[in-house]
Amino acid sequence: MKLLAELDGVGKVFPHTNHSRDRLKALGNLLLGRRINNGSRVLDNINLQVRPGESLAIIGANGAGKSTLLKILTGVLRPTEGSVAVDATVAALLELGAGFQDEFSGLENIRLKASLLGLTPAELAGKMEEILAFADIGESIHEPVKHYSSGMVVRLGFAVVTAVKPELLITDEILAVGDESFQAKCIRWIEEYLADGGTLLMVSHSMYQVQKLCKHALWIENGSVRMSGDVFRVTQAYLAWHEQKSAKELRLSRKSNGSGQYWVKSFRIFPDSEDEVPQFKMGDTLRAEVELNQPDEQLPVMLFGLVRADGTPVYGVSSDQDDTLPVQLSNNLCRYRICFKDLALLPGSYSLRAHSMDPQGLRLCDTQELPFIISGASREMGFVRLPHVWED
């Protein structure tokens, strides 16, 4: 099948440009056809193929190189290494109001934008009504763009693109600006466009939008591809990474409290897997086993807490609430086992915390934590699936 765009081993280094010496040196190197190789690297060895009908989201933390990648795809930037081949009519909406000139009216800017996209004045005239209807900003169209709200600017930009119907549409975080009704309108348009065989490449921080519009996702971190593939798999891993990052920051401020007598000797989650982090599907069964040090005759209380990877509590239950006693393994060792059947947790990253407590269930002795992942394709929101039926 024909490829609309292909990136092969693409890398980008931004040259140093602060000193006139650097600029002159770069000028000389360019004229001599030499490469400029000192600078800051933003992209490294990116490979990407875009097929017709594809819908791909590019996700990643701020500064990961997403926008640079889009700029290279649209031809705004040339890569330092690697090759870019684009074989399609491309319309790109990079940043708010890109390509608009403040002093000119909305109408003038529509003309410029259209000519940038290769529309002749005659073709534009035929589509003007459609554009104005989509932008829906009324008489403001005759005002200079500098007096527009950011939402109006996005409306205008998107309206021109809808009239062009490109083979490949590239958007960079632009839907975040419009109001709810305009966002809905844009998403409706994109869905129709995709249904008609259009191809979409978007950058967004809204995983909801990403999952709604895209089939695949590409996660970029520090200029390299960290993960790519099915949109649900990649976005979940990405969200989990974020949650773990914020949890790590949280944990730094929390003191370890393993000084009590009833400390956790071992803590395991079943079924065990070869993965570093055990993976479950929704509806699976999760078992956990804890062995506790027991210095005297008294039996410690066990509290299990289920938290989201960022530390948000989901569910907690203790052995004394359920009147459960541990199994005595030896003189100073006892064991608790718990089984969560038919897991209702939604896909994401979680941790199971084992808290050992004194026999009265009043004082916390020790805490250990094991992460696990629930995988699956679900766009439900929240942490758990509550049993529900849709009624007439």
Binding site: A26, L77, R78, A98, F104, L112, L116, P121
Partner: protein, 257 residues
């Protein structure tokens, strides 16, 4: 290519619109502004310095000056305005995939179109004052003006791309153009220059251009000198070099804005 032509047309249209036609008296200014400059030069040189150009006996000094002054203004204005034409559009070049050369090309084209309208108007004014303008000479003059346009394009492409890397250029070019103006026989004739310096002046491509414009439009002489042909050839070569130069640098403009 097709896309770039559409874009240049649109840029030229809006450049002309924004510069003149938005203000009510726009078109009038196009004629009035250089006319006033011409009158100032006329006053200083004819009344105060009592400048005499031997060739201009039949026509008077002002028409002699005007025929060369307008094209020079178009050329100089075009080159000066093109210096910033890439950097001022960095917002666009940085966000939209576009061949950057459309910006200097559109700027120079728009400037030439506007000044050529003024040129025609001033030729009419000269005729109205009873000095015969050789209107048939318009056609060969058009060819020479075409070369002038190409020279402006060549220099415009050079300075606009260099200005991305060397920002001081916008301060260097204006005095250089001033020097060039006085080094070209616009206010004077080449016959007033001591003979030993005359061949240096002929190295200046503008010399051949303004002299032939006077030949065509004022004296009705259509002989084409080999020097003029050589100038034309040099301009074409320079333009080709400038295009190469510009395209060598333009893929990296974004990195240096």
């Amino acid at each position: 290519m097709h896309k770039n032509i559409i874009l240049v047309k649109e840029l030229v249209r809006r450049e002309i619109r924004s510069r003149y036609l938005d203000s009510l008296s726009g078109l009038a200014w196009l004629v009035i502004q250089p006319l006033m400059l011409l009158l100032i030069y006329g006053f200083v040189f004819v009344i105060i310095f009592k400048a005499k150009v031997p060739e201009a006996d039949t026509t008077g000094f002002l028409p002699y000056l005007a025929v060369a002054f307008w094209p020079w203004t178009a050329f100089s204005d075009a080159v000066l305005r093109s210096v910033n034409s890439v950097t001022t559009n960095s917002g666009l070049i940085d966000k939209v995939s576009v061949s950057s050369e459309v910006f200097p090309i559109a700027m120079i084209t728009a400037t030439f179109i506007m000044h050529m309208v003024g040129y025609l108007a001033i030729l009419l004014v000269i005729t109205l004052f009873g000095i015969p303008v050789n209107w048939l000479g318009i056609f060969p003059a058009f060819v020479v003006l075409g070369f002038l346009f190409m020279l402006a394009l060549a220099l415009g492409l050079l300075v606009s791309s260099l200005n991305v890397f060397i920002r001081d250029l916008e301060h260097v070019v204006p005095p250089f153009m001033m020097l060039w103006f006085f080094g070209t026989p616009i206010l004077y004739s080449i016959s007033l220059i001591p003979p030993e310096y005359q061949h240096w002046m002929r190295l200046n491509p503008m010399t051949g251009i303004v002299n032939s414009l006077r030949d065509f439009l004022l004296w009705g002489e259509y002989s084409v000198s080999p020097a003029l042909l050589l100038t034309g050839l040099a301009i074409i070569l320079l333009l080709l070099f400038s295009l190469w130069f510009f395209r060598r640098l333009s893929p990296r403009f974004e990195d240096f804005f």
